[in-house]
């Protein structure tokens, strides 16, 4: 067995880690000449391969997501969804893309043309950059940086500015309204997002995503069990920044037409659409990494390729986003901001406090993880249930509305108000 695994595994053809062939290639390049001269070639080739891999993955993922999303949402809406182009409508995304490319790309006459053209291009950058740090496998990170969690937040904070560029340069009032709404929302939701990530960083003591996955592997637990509150606040606040339906006030279709991309047509609109999908996938990827064990699946990752596990988790969690999109109506902007400041922020703060307390207890007393983690899990789950249910019970909207049904009147004359 050991001989067999030695023969089969950790070679360039070991597909459990797609980094293996790349490493073999780079090693071969580095071996040119006397073994040191051509390192810069390897450097550049490695970078190019990483960028190409992310670009290719994102392209394929976006095409697949268009189909999945349209199909899933149409199932929610008792429709068939795309079913004419190709088997099961599988070619629909390609048809969509072709159609968008053929359309005329309009530029508003009174707008700021350079910024208008720049915005859909620039908005792609944060999405690409986030995928650069996601660990697809134990050694499959395009750029393994030590401050990855903070990096993700920092990259994400650049998006509202691009939204503003798009909205301002269109010289359209709907666009500007959408851009302002988008910025206000992004600022508000960044704070609970950072705080919920802070809880994870505090608990695991790691700021790089691979380290967090390995922590979960070491203690054999998913972090969502230990930090349900952080998972909830992160999911809500991150999906709020995605501009998808329950929180899509920046492009609220029924109110401000299409928000910041009202004036965009053709492939420029397509880029915004693709970025929306890519960001949603990135959020589900981060969620999977931080709270659902990333590429690790209770030892199964030794047999199934780790990147397949990660992709599976990412797509399953993307399903949560599709369901929220298909089922919930949109909130008003003031209600959304209220929600961020009055619900998510206190919850995230409580989470940070509790986590800090627990880590202190754990580290100071040197209790073994086997005892302490189950206790923490039970305490945290109970705490989060109590907090969320208590909040909804005491401040929810449903409390305040009295007649759940319309009053039925048979004798109209007697009931007529005087």
């Amino acid at each position: 067995m050991t001989a067999l695994s030695g023969f089969l595994l950790s070679q360039w053809y070991d597909l459990r880690d797609l980094g293996n062939p790349v490493r073999a290639l780079i090693d071969w390049i580095n071996g040119w000449g006397d073994g040191t001269t051509f390192h810069w070639v390897g450097y550049i080739v490695a970078g190019l391969i990483g960028a190409a891999a992310i670009g290719l993955f994102l392209g394929i993922a976006m095409l697949s997501l268009i189909w999945i999303e349209r199909k899933a949402v149409s199932r929610i809406q008792i429709r068939y969804g795309p079913n004419r182009t190709g088997p099961f409508g599988l070619l629909q995304p390609v048809a969509d893309a072709l159609k968008l490319m053929q359309k005329e790309a309009l530029t508003p006459l009174a707008g700021d043309k350079i910024v208008f053209w720049l915005a859909p291009v620039v908005i792609f950058i944060p999405t690409l950059l986030v995928f650069g740090v996601l660990p697809f496998g134990p050694k499959m990170t395009a750029a393994n940086i030590s401050v990855a969690v903070l990096y993700i937040v920092a990259i994400g904070s650049a998006t509202p500015l691009v939204i503003f560029m798009a909205g301002w340069s269109s010289n359209n009032k709907y666009s500007l309204l959408g851009a302002m709404r988008g910025i206000a929302m992004a600022i508000s939701y960044e704070i609970p997002m950072v705080l919920s990530l802070l809880g994870v960083v505090l608990f695991t003591g790691h700021m790089d995503l691979n380290g967090i996955v390995q922590w979960q592997q070491k203690y054999h637990v998913w972090l969502i069990v230990l930090q349900p509150l952080a998972a909830l606040t992160y999911f809500i606040s991150a999906s709020a920044e995605l501009n998808r339906t329950p929180t899509d006030i920046a492009e609220a279709e029924s109110e401000i037409v299409a928000g910041y991309h009202t004036e965009y047509s053709g492939m420029k609109f397509g880029l915004f659409y693709a970025v929306e999908l890519g960001n949603a996938l990135a959020v589900s990827g981060i969620w999977a990494t931080l709270f659902f064990g990333g590429w690790w699946l209770f030892g199964l990752d030794r047999w199934i390729p780790a990147w397949l596990i990660f992709l599976g988790k990412m797509y399953i969690l993307y399903g949560a986003l599709i369901i929220t999109r298909g089922t919930l109506p949109r909130l008003r902007i003031d209600q959304l901001l209220d929600f961020a400041w009055k619900f998510l922020l206190p919850l995230a703060l409580v989470n940070v406090l509790v986590v800090a307390l627990e880590v202190t207890i754990w580290q100071e007393n040197g209790i073994s993880a086997g005892i302490v983690l189950p206790v923490f899990a039970v305490v945290n789950i109970l705490l989060s249930v109590v907090l969320v249910v208590g909040y909804v019970q005491s401040f929810g909207f449903a409390r305040r509305q009295r007649p759940r049904r319309a009053r039925l009147i048979t004798d109209t004359l007697a009931a007529m108000p005087q």
């Binding site: 929610i76 429709r79 309204l177 999109r325 319309a406």
Partner: protein, 367 residues
Amino acid sequence: MTIQTEPFIVNIGPQHPSTHGVFRMRVVLDGEKIIDADMVVGYLHRSLEKLAEERTYTQNIPFTDRMDYLSAMSNNLGYCMAVEKLAGIRVPERGQYLRVIMAELQRIANHSMAIGTFINDCGAWQTPLMWMFAEREKILDLFEMTCGARLTCNYMRIGGVAFDIPDEFLPAVNGLLDDLPRKIDEYEKMLMENEILIARARGVGTIPRDLAISASLTGPMIRGCGIPFDIRKADPYAVYDRFDFAIPVGENGDSYDRFLVRMAELRESVKILKQAVPALPGGPYKVDVPLSIRPPIGDAYARVESPKGELGYYIVSDGGTAPYRFHVRAPSYINLSVLREMVIGASVADSIVSLGSIDIVIGEVDR
């Protein structure tokens, strides 16, 4: 300290996803707050009332289909009633019952659509709209079965209805009536207790009761304010006085109340249908009326409770084959007149919810 802000004007419509057609609302915004609003209608004006003066009374029936194209049956009914009143024609029992059945089916179809689009305006991503469409489809299938058309039915005739129902109609209606209450339960569970919907619609677009009366609102708009005004009870026509049904009313007169009233009216319509279908009498469905009818000189006003409110037809006859004057009291148009009071001071998002809760059809507003 006065804050200097510059108001700016936004045209909501005529091309806007949620103005339900080519309605234009010219609002003056201060940030997101609406400080002034102008309603501009007339983009779909086809001068139906003038055209009707050139055609015979029977030829005018298709015009009424095209006003409120979401409830063509009710529109036909009101017009035919006005002409019958003018000419003194009595409709046979079976015809009356068929008219009531069709009008109530139409009410369910229209309210499904109204609720669906209202929730779409509240920001749902089309799911409730599609669910509601599924119900409306079944009713449109019934219409198709009866008169061959789904939207512009042109089914009512002066003196009765155009055709008798086919044999498979009554079983289909009964199946639908068995199915509908369960579906309505499902929708109530899905929509009425939805916190986001409550948060969006509660207290939005509130109409005070006295304003509702002085603006002569009708239909779910006035019933949402708590006034049980319904032509079916107040001035019963056809055979409505034989059925037992209730008038649902709201309490505060806000958008959510109007939505509740529409939901409850779905149930009441089912109740009427359940009484009307078994009681459908035999006999003729139509009396014979000459194709170019010449009513005596005079005028007549007939009104029905269309799904949107009081739909009235005023016809003046000079003894010829065409009406001398033809006027429609369109509920969408009159209900729309309070929109300005509803949206001033509200935000853009709320104004869209208010507009959606009125349930206008531009074809009826502009005629």
